[in-house]
Amino acid sequence: MQTLKLWRTFKEGNDNFRRNGWLTFATISVITLSLFIVSLSLLIGIVTQSILQNMRDKVNVSVSFNPDVTEDRIMEIKNELSKYKKEISSVEYISRDDALKQFLADSGNDPIIVKAVEEIGENPLLASLVIKAVAPENYPLIVEQIKSSMFQNDISRINYAKNRKIFDRLDYINKTTKEVGFVLGTLFIFISILITFNTIRITIYSHRQEFEVKRLVGASNLYVRMPFVFEGALYGLVAALATVALVSGVAYYISPFTQGAVSQSFISLYLDYFGYVLSGVTLLGISLGVISSAIAIRRYLKT
């Protein structure tokens, strides 16, 4: 009997959903808009984070060694550095030959430069270790440690100073976007709750005469309420699907503009997250609809 009643209330909610035409359309549009704004701020958050991540991956500290330091000695230092796993994510050895190849490649194998290098007769470049830190704030510490270490005499120079500004800037952007994103996201979620709640209240208001009638023929409050809860869930579900479609469209559209700024193409990054986006937005939409309905109908349910 309970299942039968549940099914009947679901059917009634579904009927209301389909029969109300314009009201349904308006409600779904408003919820979609709210969800879209929230998702968009999340999307912007993801883009910013991945751009920052990508930039962070590109910065490093390069330690160049004096020409007389042997490769064995450098490998020894490399092993030493590799032990600091908490601070250092990778250490890469670039030999003098590799450095030269890279230099020539970077200059586009310009014949004049190639000629000039040949004239010098020997490789003018130094061997180096390229160090990447786990977090940008680790760089000053790492540099200090290297400078005061036992192999300080082997070092020709550390190109940290010129990167320092980039590190600080990245740090700052990272913190700011997180804070702004959090504040905006919270604000948008709050606004969307208000908008959804009010919209659903209007749809329920249009049914207000029915509540009295239903109670008079012996319907329990729960039986009166359930169709609206189902109706709210349907609004949320449809709005969520519409939102995901919109957001996917936006992701597809902005993907070309982020080329180079993020490591993989943005659309594939988005697809990686698609499961979360879909389930997150759907869950948010349905809860918004259900909670708004349940609260909005309360005032009409005196016994």
Binding site: L4, K5, R8, Q209, V217, G218
Partner: protein
């Protein structure tokens, strides 16, 4: 309480709406099962409030109302929906669900009770046939005349086979022919043993029925006659 258990019994009932608007005062009323009772009185005399107290839409400020010997104040609010299924209600404005057909409106009263679809499909057409709407089960309220809408509402009130039918100005929006048809139906229902309580303004109808009449005046029972006529003072 009287010796023979009445179906409805008012014991020193008063109803005051905030802040201090006394609508009913000192009401003592015994209604036996199977009676046909008309309640008359000027607008604002308290007719509707008296009826609302019976189906527990309002609570008395003082006194007690018994339904079948059971004090209404003891009914848990959660159980009110079940209690209301003992009483069928008919109103001046019909109170039909506009988005549902005649059949669906009547069926709703059974659906809330958890009746099976088979039962509903059997009982609803029967009851619509009884009120003379056998051919109009699929019409929406807006496609029906006032008299027809009121008969849908009566069918809905009857479908539970309630012990009591409460009709608050049932003919208020009906033309004389529809009114007299509806009263005829109510009398028929009463003849099968259902208690009928009707509040009305309609002098002709009350005089024609020739059954018990109580007259409310300023919230008090001014007259109570067994073969009553419509008198206001």
């Amino acid at each position: 309480m009287p010796d023979i258990q009445p179906i409805i019994y008012f014991e020193n009932v008063a109803k005051t709406f905030p802040p201090d608007h006394a609508v009913l005062e000192d009401i003592n009323l015994t209604i036996q099962a199977g009676e046909f009772l008309s309640i008359v009185g000027a607008s604002g005399a308290g007719k509707s409030t008296l009826l609302k107290l019976i189906y527990a839409e309002e609570e008395p400020t003082a006194g007690e109302i018994y339904f079948n010997g059971r004090p209404l104040s003891r009914i848990n609010r959660k159980h009110l929906p079940f209690f209301r299924r003992n009483i069928g209600t008919v109103f001046q404005d019909f109170k039909l669900l506009p988005e549902r057909t005649a059949f669906e409106n009547v069926a709703y009263a059974l659906e809330v009770d958890g009746k099976s679809t088979e039962e509903i499909n059997q009982e609803v057409p029967e009851i619509l046939e009884i009120v003379g709407l056998g051919g109009k089960t699929r019409k929406f309220p807006r496609q029906l005349s006032g008299g027809e809408q009121q008969r849908v509402s009566l069918a809905r009130a009857l479908v539970h086979r309630p012990k009591v039918i409460i009709a608050d100005e049932p003919t208020g929006n009906l033309d004389p022919v529809s009114s007299s048809d509806l009263i005829q139906l109510l009398l028929e229902i009463n003849s099968f043993g259902t208690t009928v309580l009707m509040a009305t303004h309609n002098k002709n109808i009350v005089d024609k029925i020739g059954r018990r009449v109580i007259v409310l005046n300023n919230g008090r029972i001014a007259h109570d006659h067994n073969k009553g006529k419509y008198v206001l003072n």
